[in-house]
Amino acid sequence: MISLTNAILFLLLAPIIGGLVSGIDRKLTARMQGRVGPPILQPFYDVGKLLEKENLVVTTSQNFYILSYIVFIVVSGALFFAGGDLLLVIFAFTLAHIFLVLGAYASNSPYSFVGAERELIQIIAYEPMIILSAVGMFMVTKSFFVNEIAASELPLILYLPGVFIGFLMVFTIKLRKSPFDLSTSHHAHQELVKGVTTEFTGPNLAKIEIAHWYENVFLLGFVYLFFAFNPAIAIVAIIVAYLLEILIDNTFSRVKWQLTLKSAWIVAGMMGLVNLGVLYYLAGVLI
């Protein structure tokens, strides 16, 4: 049931794809702002540079948490592409994120502490919707296994439009995009410095960056599942969804955590649950 080839392909290709996506993202963002922008390969240069730098830490255990973070991100992503149980994948990602949060806590630094707390808020904001998405996919395809969902002939998106909208909402949070970049703050140095990542230098920061690429590829894979009945449409959908995120990133200002939490939960409740409720009702009627 588990495809090892896919997992290995993910291990090798995901950083390349993730880095490229990130590079294109930066280029497009620059163009939207009327700038030339960095080269497409810039994210690779950044990570390469970070790996060349010295590793400064506040406490040694930070290294351990970040290593665990990237290891579990990779394992979870590999499990997803190998076709494993979707819920297990989601929980494994949570585990990985907890390691990141703990790494930030471990340094006992004010800025990473605030970042860690905010990262937790983000986790509780997006987690319900992600689980509901998985549940929605199960309700349509009768399976939690990614390979079976991906192989399904049913157009999931037509069954789960509400769930998909809810997912797009938390997609923004997971990609750490404005208006929901609460914890790492690409745009708000003054207030948070760099949130969770403040106390990580060089190689550790590189690991966080690479883990982020891996995770983004997983998220794009998740979008794919909604359109898995037709790979061509799916690829277009992924591109459109990501472009939409870039647009949102550049047109919204950052919101407070209260609004993030509330809006994520309300959307999960309204879009996700209502959608699932209708499916549930229909399934009852049809049976």
Binding site: G37, G48, V193, L205
Partner: protein, 158 residues
């Protein structure tokens, strides 16, 4: 490898500048100059930064802060003193509360003259600093190698 040159991240600190140079540093980030073209990012965090850009001279208030920020930056790192005040204290040189340029406190690698320094010259200065950054990286590597050899004769493994 020379990734360092392709992705210098700056930390900008306003010591006791009149803000003239600060505005010019910010101007570099605008679409007109767009230093992100060169992979340059203005981080707000010394722990992520490679290039320490300081404007203004040293006074009693910021003496410890400059030193602290400098110490928290990971090696290899360079310091760029932007504007005449950062270089020598400028017109404030004789003031009772100013102790002079940044090099009174930390080693400065590149001086960018001007009052205020023009964005072009700032960019030029930073590009200059990248050469030094690269040199420092090589030095750092060699030091590490020597240290490794010193610890385990016959060459340690990595």
């Amino acid at each position: 490898m020379t990734y360092l040159k392709k992705s210098p991240w700056l930390l900008h600190y306003d010591a006791s500048s009149c803000n003239g140079c600060d505005i010019e540093v910010l101007a570099c980030l605008t679409p007109l100059y767009d230093v992100e073209r060169f992979g340059i990012i203005n981080t707000g965090n010394p722990k992520h930064a490679d290039v320490f850009v300081v404007t203004g001279g040293v006074n009693e208030q910021n003496r410890e802060v400059i030193r602290n920020i400098y110490e928290q930056m990971p090696e290899p790192k360079v310091v760029v003193a932007v504007g005449i005040c950062a270089a020598s204290g400028g017109v404030f040189r004789e003031c009772s509360n100013i102790s002079g340029g940044i090099d009174q406190l930390i080693p400065v690698d590149v001086y960018v003259p001007g009052c205020a320094a023009r964005p072009e010259s700032i960019i030029d200065g930073i590009v200059k600093s990248l050469e030094i950054l690269e040199e420092k990286r090589i030095q750092m590597k060699e030091r590490a190698k020597q240290k490794e050899q010193g610890r385990s004769p016959g060459g340690g493994e990595r």
